[in-house]
């Protein structure tokens, strides 16, 4: 029983180091800057993220690992899968910062801590896709979650914000306790926490292993807000500052799926018959409950919360399909990439309409928006159509790939349910369009340049992904090639 220092190559985790380094840098700068000058932190965050984006994009095609214990497998790996997810997450971060600036300023929340926490959380999210060891998965999960708890309560002393933080915290802590118990059991079953090690050692019929699968599934399902582990989502999304909601609705979901897919499809490949059934059940429930509950909402943040649950359902279809088909992973990756732009674009409009915190978040506040803000409304309508999966938008291409893969994997009924539910979803997405274009109303709207830039990027990207999805889907396919080809059907 002895312990060796693992071999370390920091260049491999450079993107994470840059992001976390930016956060730490901001903390240090904060000590020396005049308290009145506040917007500098946004600049630090944007520059950090752009540098990280360039660095990450440069790593495309590279694969390698680091933190390699003596005679073991690397705890952190970088492959195209991780790089694709990192790009997705960094873009999420950039858009989230862009749409945050004006909102924070007008609500007096413009503190540098906001951007630091966002960067820390983003660092954790990026690690989720790179983790090749359950210890790392757990750490990354906590690094991403804890800043999010704080960010949810960032609008203190607003009671809603604090309540959201409290609920998120309690539920999050509870589910990570379950998750880590799952890790302990997996460790007991296989004697290792490394994913390749688990793949090699796991026994299909062992009680410990099966229980571990269940507990791990609970942890991930909680993070991605799959029904019935979704109940925190609407409350937290409603209570948290809208910019935070926007960030976590994409970031936490992408990160959750990143680790979920890597753990289940590689390490637990032998148990695929065991987990795929549960995933199918989760996907079914998620699609039905998410979409039905979205219909009856009157608050747009809550509606988008349920919509994000529903979208998790579509991604779960892809995950279920990936048990025997690596295209499932590509479809999930592409879906998340398209979802990032669409959802953040929609939130950008929500933030613009929420002229003062807590006001302008009801659906009725969208009445007559088209008459006074035609561009903003057109962007919103476009985002709603993309979320509903109407061609030619990114949302449509994404759903197309998911359904096609599901059919390839013989998940016929799940596909039919997905199609029906995407039709149902048109009810509530189009209602927003309906309200904007077919009513009269007075709503104040505040748009800042940064927000317009973010929204513009989102619209263009959604459009490009709808018209020319091929290029991006090819990248997503390449991202899965090296990592998952060997495991699919294994």
């Amino acid at each position: 029983m002895d312990f060796q220092v693992p071999s370390i190559n920091l260049a491999i985790i450079a993107p994470v180091i840059i992001v976390l380094g930016g956060a730490i840098l901001a903390m240090i700068v904060d000590l020396f800057v005049d308290k009145d000058k506040k917007s500098w932190a946004a600049w630090v965050a944007i520059i950090t993220l752009l540098v990280a984006l360039v660095q990450t994009a440069g790593m495309w095609g590279f694969s390698g690992g680091t933190f390699i214990p003596e005679g073991g497998t690397p705890m952190i790996v970088v492959d195209n899968y991780a790089t694709f997810l990192n790009i997705t997450l960094i873009l999420t971060g950039i858009l989230a910062v862009l749409i945050s600036v004006g909102f924070l300023q007008r609500n007096g929340l413009d503190k540098p801590e906001y951007y630091m926490l966002l960067l820390f959380s983003l660092g954790g999210m990026m690690l989720m896709g790179m983790a090749n060891d359950l210890i790392l998965v757990f750490l990354a999960l906590e690094v991403l979650s804890i800043p999010l708890y704080i960010l949810s309560g960032f609008a203190w002393p607003r009671p809603e914000s604090e309540e959201a933080a409290m609920k998120y915290f309690i539920l999050g802590a509870f589910s990570s306790a379950i998750f880590v118990f799952g890790i302990a059991l997996a460790y007991g079953a296989t004697g290792t926490t490394s994913l390749p090690g688990i793949f090699a050692a796991i026994d299909v019929n062992e009680v410990l292993g099966l229980t571990a699968v269940a507990f791990l599934l609970v942890g991930f399902a909680f993070k991605v807000a799959a029904v019935p582990f979704h109940m925190w989502t609407p409350d937290v999304y409603e209570g948290a500052p809208t910019t935070v909601t926007a960030f976590m609705s994409v970031g936490a979901k992408v990160a959750g799926f990143a680790a979920m897919i890597r753990v289940f499809v590689t390490a637990l490949a032998h148990l695929s018959d065991v987990w795929v059934g549960a995933i199918i059940i989760l996907a079914t429930l998620t699609l039905i409950v998410g979409n039905l509950l979205a219909i009856v909402q009157t608050n747009i943040k809550r509606m988008l919360a349920y919509s994000s649950i529903a979208h998790a359902g579509f991604i779960l279809i892809a995950v279920a399909a990936s048990y025997n088909n690596p295209n499932g992973v590509s479809a999930a990756l592409f879906y998340m990439f398209a979802y990032l732009f669409t959802n953040l674009g929609a939130f950008a409009v929500v933030i613009a309409v929420e002229h003062k915190q807590g006001e302008g978040v009801m659906l009725d506040d969208y009445k007559g928006l088209a008459a006074r803000h035609p561009w903003l409304s057109l962007a919103m309508a476009f985002m709603m159509l993309s979320l509903a999966g109407v061609p030619p938008t990114g949302g449509f291409s994404a759903k197309f790939y998911v359904f096609r893969t599901a059919l390839e994997s013989e998940l016929g009924w799940l596909t039919v349910l997905g199609v029906v539910m995407s039709v149902v979803s048109a009810f509530y997405y189009l209602r927003v369009v309906f309200l904007m274009y077919m009513y009269e109303g007075e709503t104040e709207v505040v748009t800042k340049r940064a927000l317009k830039l973010g929204l513009g990027i989102a619209v263009v990207a959604t459009f490009v992904l709808g018209l020319f999805p091929g290029t991006w889907f090819d990248l997503a396919s390449q991202a899965t090639l090296t990592t998952f080809q060997a495991f699919a059907g294994g």
């Binding site: 039905l292 077919m438 091929g470």
Partner: protein, 688 residues
């Protein structure tokens, strides 16, 4: 000439561009917006003519096999999914009709919509609508067709509900959207099955004989794939083309501005469904598992019932709406009997004369409306024919154009409808005689012929009520003919209504259209595409019933006085009441889908409460509050009047019930997590 084909993708682009420019830039300027819209569709028309010229010049082979331009779009694992454009004889024929009729409607609308506060927006929507329809026609695959189909669905919803200040308009828009959406889901399901079975959605690929053969042998849910898929596709067409039993949205679509009614009823929306069936016809025709007879049955039922309802309507536009439903039924009869060209021919001629009739009715309404304003009368319904009468003397141009349209619809020699309707009836007649026994062709012929009589009857009634006799209201007395921008399109359409039929007259060039467009399904090898010879007996019978019906209607209503009882109502008694209420189909749907859903909701809410929610609530310990909320929810479910269809209601209700699980109590959420985790483990360990 071949190079002209390359212009095809541009055809839908012009109106799309017009839409974008109006929305983003010109929306403050009414004149400019209308100009952009008309310019856009005008350019499409010119481009279409170039493409048609290329098709005519290219000769028989291209007219059958088609020119196509594949565009790689969605790469999939093994292959690249191509989308793209194609032109063959059938497409070219449609390209002649759609942009031209749209252009005329747009010009007409420029005057008709004057003074509307959302004038620019109207032209943006109709441009997008036209772009959708044009894309649908030039698409070479089902997916692009479906995209265009959905765009039209969205636009129809926006346009029918255009005057959303009126509650009825808002509801009609939603009803149209949801009803056609039922069809869309079926179509989409059919598409997915087709793609998963054949790996392609391109028409040419699907209609290769070997692919069709394979489809007839594969099974879906124990039935041949071709049967399932073609029925699903037909479901889409039934919704879009307002066939029984999904016809309920079309009459309500009259709530939109009249040019929209013309657009929906003639050139675009409803033709899309017929176009789809015509395009996919080989799939229906696969022997022995094809589903052609279903198409013919639904068509016959619709043709007859639509016409019967029409004779009892008093709203001038509703008469035409049910007439459209009935005429679409004729097209389905033709397609269902395998008479591809007969259906297409009627689709083309009908578009011209129905657009004419709708625009004409718009003129009349416009005139009566102005008359009412002149007489300072705000109670007279300007659409009610009982308030009209004697308008011939006041609006000569509109009247003559309207007469031409009526002659075409009723099928008077030599107007367009005579030739096209006759070909359908001849098709049925020949098949009946070939079979030698009373079967589907006979019933189709009978429904068609009776329908022709009823068509003549309601049109005679309409002409008599609107144009002849004495004005029955102050508004009608003061009616004035509208301006040139409205009447000129009418006269142009009247010319087409009179002469378009000659493109397929058997005695001239052996039925030119037949050679041009009728053979596009030849490569599929499943349809008999020879033209039916002209049947003099059919022509005589249908002309006789048409004349009889028309003069009967005209004679009965010509001198109707204000306040007098409807003569047909006197004759038919309770039957008339049933017809007037459209066989109570709307009421039936309300009863079956909406009321029972509410009853079910009440029952299951009780069930939920007694058996499922209550124990959990007890366990958590806040029964009272939930109970109060629950009964509040039931109240809103019952009281709330929204929801046009039961499904919408049902989903909404389920959402509300599910919402109760979201109590806001963190520990309830924790409890759910814990219980589900335990059940997961139980599932794994005990293999439940």
């Amino acid at each position: 000439m071949e190079q002209l084909f390359a212009l095809t993708p541009l055809i839908p682009v012009f109106p799309l561009l017009a839409f974008a420019l109006i929305v983003l830039w010109a929306n403050k300027n009414n004149k400019l917006s209308a100009g952009l819209a008309i310019g856009g569709i005008g350019l499409s028309t010119l481009t279409s003519w170039a493409v048609i010229a290329a098709t005519v010049a290219a000769g028989h082979e291209v007219q059958i096999a088609g020119w196509s331009l594949p565009v790689p779009w969605l790469p999939t694992a093994a292959s690249i999914f191509n989308t793209g454009f194609a032109v063959d004889g059938f497409t070219a024929a449609m390209l002649f009709m759609v942009p031209l009729v749209c252009t005329l409607i747009f010009i007409y609308a420029a005057e008709y919509m004057e003074g509307d506060p959302r004038y620019a927006r109207f032209f943006a929507y109709v441009s997008l609508f036209a772009a959708g329809m044009l894309t649908l026609i030039v698409a070479d695959n089902l997916l692009l067709l479906f995209i265009a189909w959905e765009i039209m669905g969205l636009c129809s919803y926006l346009l029918i509900g255009f005057w959303f200040e009126k509650d009825s308009a808002k509801k009609a828009g939603l009803k149209a959207f949801l009803t056609t959406r039922i069809g869309d889901v079926l179509l989409f399901a059919g598409m997915l099955f087709l793609y998963s079975r054949t790996g392609t959605l391109t028409f040419r690929e699907i209609f290769k004989p070997e692919v069709l053969d394979e489809l007839s042998r594969m099974l879906i849910w124990g039935l041949p794939a071709s049967t399932v898929i073609s029925l699903l596709v037909f479901g889409g067409a039934v919704g879009k083309s307002a066939q029984f039993p999904l016809h309920v949205w079309l009459p309500d679509a009259m709530e939109g501005p009249t040019p929209v009614s013309a657009l929906i009823h003639a050139a675009t929306m409803v033709s899309a469904g017929v176009y789809l069936v015509a395009r996919m016809l080989p799939l229906f025709a696969i022997v022995p598992q094809g589903t052609l007879s279903w198409v013919a049955i639904i068509g016959s039922v619709t043709a007859f019932f639509g016409a019967t309802i029409s004779i009892a309507q008093n709203d001038i536009k509703r008469v035409l709406a049910y007439s459209t439903i009935s005429q679409l039924g004729y097209m389905m009869i033709a397609l269902g009997l395998g008479g591809f060209l007969a259906g297409v021919f009627h689709l083309l001629t009908h578009a011209f004369f129905k657009a004419l009739l709708f625009l004409g009715s718009g003129s009349i309404i416009h005139a009566v409306h102005h008359g009412a304003e002149h007489a300072d009368d705000h109670h007279t319904d300007p659409q009610d024919m009982m308030n009209m009468g004697g308008l011939y003397a006041k609006m000569k141009r509109t009247s003559w154009a309207y007469f031409a349209g009526t002659a075409a619809l009723v099928g008077i020699f030599p107007f367009a409808g005579f030739w096209s309707k006759d070909e359908i009836l001849a098709e049925a007649w020949v098949q009946w005689h070939e079979a030698g026994s009373i079967g589907l062709p006979f019933w189709a012929w009978l429904a068609g012929t009776l329908g022709a009589f009823l068509t003549a009857l309601y049109m005679g009634r309409q002409i008599g009520l609107v144009f002849f006799g004495k004005p029955r209201s102050k508004a009608a007395e003061h009616a004035v003919e509208p301006g040139n921008r409205m009447t000129v399109p009418l006269l142009v359409l009247a010319l087409f209504a009179a002469f378009i039929g000659f493109i397929n007259v058997p005695f001239i060039a052996n039925g030119w259209l037949h050679h041009f467009a009728g053979l596009v399904h030849e490569p599929a090898e499943v349809l008999h595409l020879e033209a039916v010879p002209f049947q003099i007996s059919v022509a005589l019978v249908s002309t006789a019933v048409a004349l009889l019906g028309f003069f009967l209607g005209w004679g009965m209503y010509r001198n109707l006085k204000a306040g007098q009882q409807d003569p047909l109502a006197r004759m038919l008694g309770p039957v008339f009441t049933v017809l007037k209420n459209k066989y109570y189909v709307d009421e039936f749907y309300k009863f079956v889908f909406i009321d029972t859903t509410v009853a079910l909701a009440n029952f299951s809410a009780k069930f939920d409460y007694d058996w499922v929610i209550n124990p959990i609530v007890n366990f958590v310990g806040n029964t009272g509050r939930l109970l109060g909320e629950l009964s509040g929810r039931i109240d809103t479910v019952v009281v709330d009047g929204m929801g046009v269809l039961g499904t919408a209601r049902l989903f909404k209700w389920m959402g509300r019930e599910l919402r109760l699980t979201q109590t806001g109590q963190a520990q309830n959420y924790l409890l759910v997590i814990a219980l589900v985790s335990l059940s997961l483990i139980a599932m794994y360990l005990f293999g439940i």
